[in-house]
Symmetry: C2
Subunit: 349 residues, 2 copies
Amino acid sequence: MKQKKVSLSDIAEKLGVSKTLVSMVLNGKGDENGISKVTQERVLKLAQELNYKPNQFARSLRIGKSNTIGLIVSDISNPFYAKLARYVEDYCSLNQYNLIICNSDENADKEKKIIDTLLEKQVDGLIISSTIEDIEHLRKINNEQVSFVLVDRIYSSYPSHYVVVDNVFGAREATQYLFENGHRRIGCFTIAPAHISTQVERFTGYKEAFDTSLESFNDFYHKIIPRENMFKTIYNILKDWTSNKVMPTAIFSANNQITLALLEVCRELNIHVPSKLSIISFDDIDVFRFSNPPITAILQPIESIAKYAVETLLKIISKTKANEEITELYQVKLQTNLILRESVAKYNI
Amino acid sequence: MKQKKVSLSDIAEKLGVSKTLVSMVLNGKGDENGISKVTQERVLKLAQELNYKPNQFARSLRIGKSNTIGLIVSDISNPFYAKLARYVEDYCSLNQYNLIICNSDENADKEKKIIDTLLEKQVDGLIISSTIEDIEHLRKINNEQVSFVLVDRIYSSYPSHYVVVDNVFGAREATQYLFENGHRRIGCFTIAPAHISTQVERFTGYKEAFDTSLESFNDFYHKIIPRENMFKTIYNILKDWTSNKVMPTAIFSANNQITLALLEVCRELNIHVPSKLSIISFDDIDVFRFSNPPITAILQPIESIAKYAVETLLKIISKTKANEEITELYQVKLQTNLILRESVAKYNI
DNA sequence: CTGAAAGCGCTTACAG
DNA sequence: CTGAAAGCGCTTACAG
C-alpha cells in the first residue's frame, strides 16, 4: 500500500509553524524574510526526513507557470528528430525546464490535437517542427496563450520566431558538387507532403545549382515520394527511367528516409552505387557512415538547432511573463556542412 | 499580447449558470445529472466559441491524478530507445495518457534526480530502464507514491513488475549459430557498467552456448567495453589479440553501440568482415541492414515491449487507485529473433 | 434541474 | 521574525 504523500501543512503542523514559513524556507527565501537560522534548520531537516516533494501542480496553478515546454516533431524514432529531441531535452533540463515530446506523424489534425492537449497541460511554450499547412491555425495559437518557436520547418508567408538550417544553400552546394564531378542528368527526390518548407527549399537549392552551373533546368527529374510505399514508388521510378534509357547518373535525395529506401532499391535492382548511380543525401545519420558505400551527406548542426530553439523560446517566455512587448522576431538560420564520402563517382565528361 | 485564458467561471458567468453545471456538461456528465438539453447546448457552444481549454493542473490537483507517466531511458537518441519511446508514446496516447521522457545518461544520480522531479510532477506511474545499481533506492520508490514497471533491464534480486526480453536465449542462440558455422574462438563484448542485467544475461547466454556445444569455456575472450572511448578500447583489444596471434574468428557483441565501434575499428585495421572476422550483434538497428556487410543481428520485439509495459503499468495504476491489493507480480519475458544476414562466414573446420 | 461551498496544495501580499 | 487569509481553476458531495 502506498503511503500518503506529505504536504506543506504536514510539515507545518508537526513543527507548530505556519505553511507560509515552511514554504518560504523551502524556496530559499528564509533569509530574505528573516526566518531564524534555527527554524530554517528544523524545517529543512524534517522535509528531508519526510522525503517531502512539493506538488508541482499546486505550485504551477498558483504561480501560473509550469516550467514545462512541449516539443512536437513528426516522429521521434526518425534519427534526426531523436537527436534533436535529445539535445532539446538537455538544454531544457539545463534551464530547469521539463520537456514533453509528441509525435504528429505528419498529420495536421493530430498536430492540432497535440497542441490543444499541451495547452491544457499549461506548457509555457512550444517548439514545433510543424506539419500543418493551414497558417490560420498557427495564427490562432499565436493569439492564444503560448509562445512558440518553429524549428526545422517554417512558413515563408507567416512571420514567426524560428531556428532553421539554410536548406537552399545545403542543397545547392550538394548539387553543385555533383556537377563538379561531371554529372549532368541529376535527379531530385523530395518527400511528401510537398508543402513542407524543408522540401521546398531543398528543391530550390537543387534548381539553383543548375543556374550557377549554366545548365538548363526542367523538372523531369524531380519526384515527390509519398511516405507510404517509398520503396515501391522509387522502384517504379528507377525501372521507368532505365527502360526509357533516361536514367540519371546522380540523385540528390532531400530526406534521409528516402535515401534509405533508394539504397534498398538500388540493391534490389543491382544498380551499383556509385559506379552506376551517384547519391548524395540530406541529413547525416549513422547509417550513412556505415553503409555500402558510405553516403556523401549534408550534415545539419542538430545540437545548435536545439540550443538556439530552447534559448530563444525561454527568452520569449520570460519577456511575455514580464509583460514586455516582443517587438523583434528571433530568426536563426544555421549553416550545413557537406560530408564527403564515397557515394559520388566522377562521371566521365 | 497574449489574451487571458478562459476559465470555467468565465463561461458560467456569461451564461448566468454555476461552475458546477458547466463542469458537469463539459465532462459529459450533463445527462446523468439531468441538465436540460438546451442548457447543455448553450454551454458547449460557448466553450467552443471561447476556445475553452480546461486547466489540467487544477483538474489533476483536485482529482489527484495526472494522467501522465514518465519514461526513463539512458539515451533517447540511441535508436533502440528512440523506437521504444515512440511506441510507448503511441500506447500512452491510445489510453489518453501523456508521456514525459527523460535521459539518465547511465548515471545513477541523474536517474534519482529525474525520479524525484517526475514525482513532483505527480506522474501516475513510471516506466524505467534503470541504471541504478543500488536496489535500496528502488525499494524506496516502491514504498513511495508511484507504481512503476521496469523495462529492458531488471534486478534479479529485487522482485518487481517488468517487461523484458529473453536475453540469455537470444545470446545463446546467436553464439550457437557461430558454433554451427565452425567458429570455436568466439569473443564477447559487453558494455559497461557491468552490472546492467542485459549485459549480464547476454554474457550468460554466450557462456551457455559453450556448454551446449560441449566446448570448454574460459572468459579470456570476454571484454567489458567502457562507454567513453569505445573505439580506442576495441582498437587496442584487437591489436593486442592480433599481435599475440589469438585473434578470435568471431565476436558476439552484446550492444549495438559497441558493434558500431567494432565495425569502425575493423575498417581502420583492415580486418575484413566476415572473411577475417565474423560479427553478430544484439539489437537490430537500421545501420545493420545497410552496412557493409549487413550485420546478422538479434531483433528485439520493441513494439511488444512498449505495449506490455504501458498496459501493465496502467493496470497497476488503476488497481492502486481503486485501493485494490496488488498481489501478483506482472513479469513478461519476450522472445528475440535472430536475423540472418552476411556478417557471419563459415570457418573452415 | 441547478447552485453554494469546500478543498486539492501551493504562494504571496498583508498585517502585526 | 511569524501567521491568517485569499486565491490559482477545477470537481464533487450535498442541499434544495
